[in-house]
Amino acid sequence: MAKMMYRDAVVSTLHEEMERDESIVVLGEDVVGGMGTEGGPEAIGGIWSTSTGLYDKFGADRVIDTPISESAIMGAAGGLALTGKRPVAELMFADFIGVSLDQIWNQIAKFRYMFGGKTRCPAVLRMAYGAGFNAAAQHSQSVHHILTGMPGLKVVMPSTPEDVRGLLRTALRSDDPVIFLEHKALYGVEGEVPDGDYTIPFAHARQVRSGEDVTIIATGLMVGLAEAAADTLAEDGIGCDVIDLRTTSPMDEEAILDSVEVTGRLVIVDEAPPRCNLATDISAIVAQKAFASLKAPIEMVTAPHSPIPFALELERAYLPSADDVEAAVRKTLSYR
């Protein structure tokens, strides 16, 4: 066991996996940093420090700095994956799927199916997502719901350094394209990580707190809010079953349904705006498959139907809070 920051969990896993597997190739904007400058390669790492030292260790062939051309980055990842490599392509901000979605959605996700199952496209697409940095409307978004809806992609949302390492290993050993979503506000968070070459399978949710009164489902940064709310509620003797999904595609439906069968009450926390998001997705699954167990309306805690504002006060109002989660739990409990 060692303590490690979330961002270091990313870098260290990349280092280890690139050593283990020669076919892994990293590419993205400033993943080396300093290319074409007097300071030279690695003068400075990527802006998230999630690729530090890779270039020095693995060289220019396997660590490729790219121009600002996200479609070409994602497309190149597709081409690399189709020809035997395992690209790890970085989108600096998840919001940049806007300029590269075709390659992710219409190409990478669909190759195998369109080509009759003959090909594999083991591309790992890493993206920093999420609000909380006053980075405003184009640098703060959650995109997991959009990508979860796209057949052919797997979507991973680690919430702890331990999960980063276990899930990134699994991603790098998967033969399908994986979207690996790293929350910006978690990069600096520290946590214990187990030793050794452990992996965490996809579609295996993590029970964060256990309780029998209400189920709370969350991912990424939202897991922390759910935990905080659960701890507060525990003081009042309210037991929350807090589930961190870890992956949204594939998703651990069983864990969700099993929990709701016990609690009969469900709160889903989602950082995305309310329409057609992951909260509605889970709600719909439960309303179809665990209907008989439900004792109260399903509550969703989400961002509002608005772009993400810049000002501190507004962004705080935009983001779900532990208080919101707590209120939703109390609301569902008060339903008779």
């Binding site: 070409a72 690209p87 369109m114 080509f115």
Partner: protein, 323 residues
């Protein structure tokens, strides 16, 4: 014509196969027997064949919506392709892809593509892969004059230059993107190649209706790229004999334009004149080759008609390797 007799025969055979394949599809589609959007390659055969005759299975190509010619030139199975277009479960892609998504990675054919301009970035990735492997192999991406206006095409060219990837951008300028003329849609001081040049690539130009021109131009291009000089681009002027897709009434064509290009710009005719003129092959031999190609295609059509259909349950197969 500096090719051996054998090479010449093979090249002509390939061009004839593409022609026969497309002409046959043209007829079948008119009857409604097969469905979907189909874009025929008739008229451009010399480009696909003149390019791909230089390649082996480890060299890759990335194709477009008008992909049959590229596939056939790269060695994809005629019957497998026809069955695919027929939507059979025995098709090259089990009937899941159809005309616009034929791929055969064993043959180095990384896929036709329904999204105009999407192929170029994929090709750069494949070429980076080859550069890492260091085996002198290349990836060729075909793009139309319309595709050369898509941002992805430019990004890919720049990326290839920056990464020094052995990627070759082959522009097939058939003067039309759908129903719009090249002169209107492509802003340029000269041509497509000159745009590529401004990205720091060495460029070539050739006559896409003349197999020899394509083949000899590509010999130079490939020598340059295989030697590790990074990417290159080449523009071939060519002609599209049919409409943009099957069903296109083509009212945008000039009076007599189709007759004229069929008469003066038919790569099969031009090849025949050159081959007979140089006394390398005679008309009888050429006729036999052409007939053999037609027969092959006819057999493929018959096989496709008799081929098994996909099962409804297969609809969700092969979305993932493992989910």
């Amino acid at each position: 014509m500096q090719l051996s007799r054998e090479e010449l025969v093979q090249a002509f055979r390939r061009m004839c196969t593409i022609r026969a394949f497309e002409e046959r599809l043209h007829d079948v589609i008119a009857t409604g027997e097969i469905a979907g959007f189909t874009h025929l390659y008739c008229g451009q055969e010399a480009v696909a064949v003149g390019v791909c005759e230089h390649l082996d299975n480890e060299d890759k190509i990335v194709s477009t919506h008008r992909g049959h010619g590229h596939c056939l030139a790269k060695g994809c199975d005629v019957t497998g392709m026809m069955k695919e277009i027929w939507g059979s479960s025995e098709g090259l892609c089990k009937g899941r892809g159809g005309s616009m998504h034929i791929a055969d990675t064993d043959k180095g054919m990384l896929g036709a593509n329904g999204i105009v301009g999407a192929g170029a970035p994929i090709a750069v990735g494949s070429a980076i892969s080859q550069k890492i492997d260091g085996d002198g192999k290349v990836t060729i991406t075909f793009s139309g004059d319309g595709a050369c206006n898509q941002g992805t095409t430019f990004e890919a060219m720049n990326m290839a230059v920056v990464t020094k990837a052995p990627c070759i951008f082959v522009f097939e300028n058939n003067h039309y993107s759908e129903h719009t003329g090249f002169e209107y849609a492509v802003g340029t001081s000269k041509d497509i190649a000159s745009r590529a040049e401004a990205f720091g690539m060495k460029v070539w130009r050739g006559d896409g209706c003349d197999f020899t021109s394509v083949y000899e131009t590509m010999r130079e291009v490939l020598e340059y790229v295989r030697a590790g000089n990074g990417p290159a681009a080449v523009e071939f002027d060519t002609e599209r004999f049919y409409g943009h897709f099957e069903g296109d009434p083509q009212n945008y064509r000039g009076e007599g334009e189709i007759d004229r290009i069929r008469e003066t710009r038919d790569c099969l005719k031009i090849f025949r004149e050159q081959a007979t003129g140089a006394k390398l092959l005679d008309d009888k031999e050429l006729d036999e080759i052409q007939q053999a190609a037609i027969d092959d295609v006819e057999a493929a059509v018959e096989a496709s008609r008799a081929a098994p259909r996909p099962q409804p349950d297969d609809v969700t197969k092969d979305v993932y390797v493992e989910y």
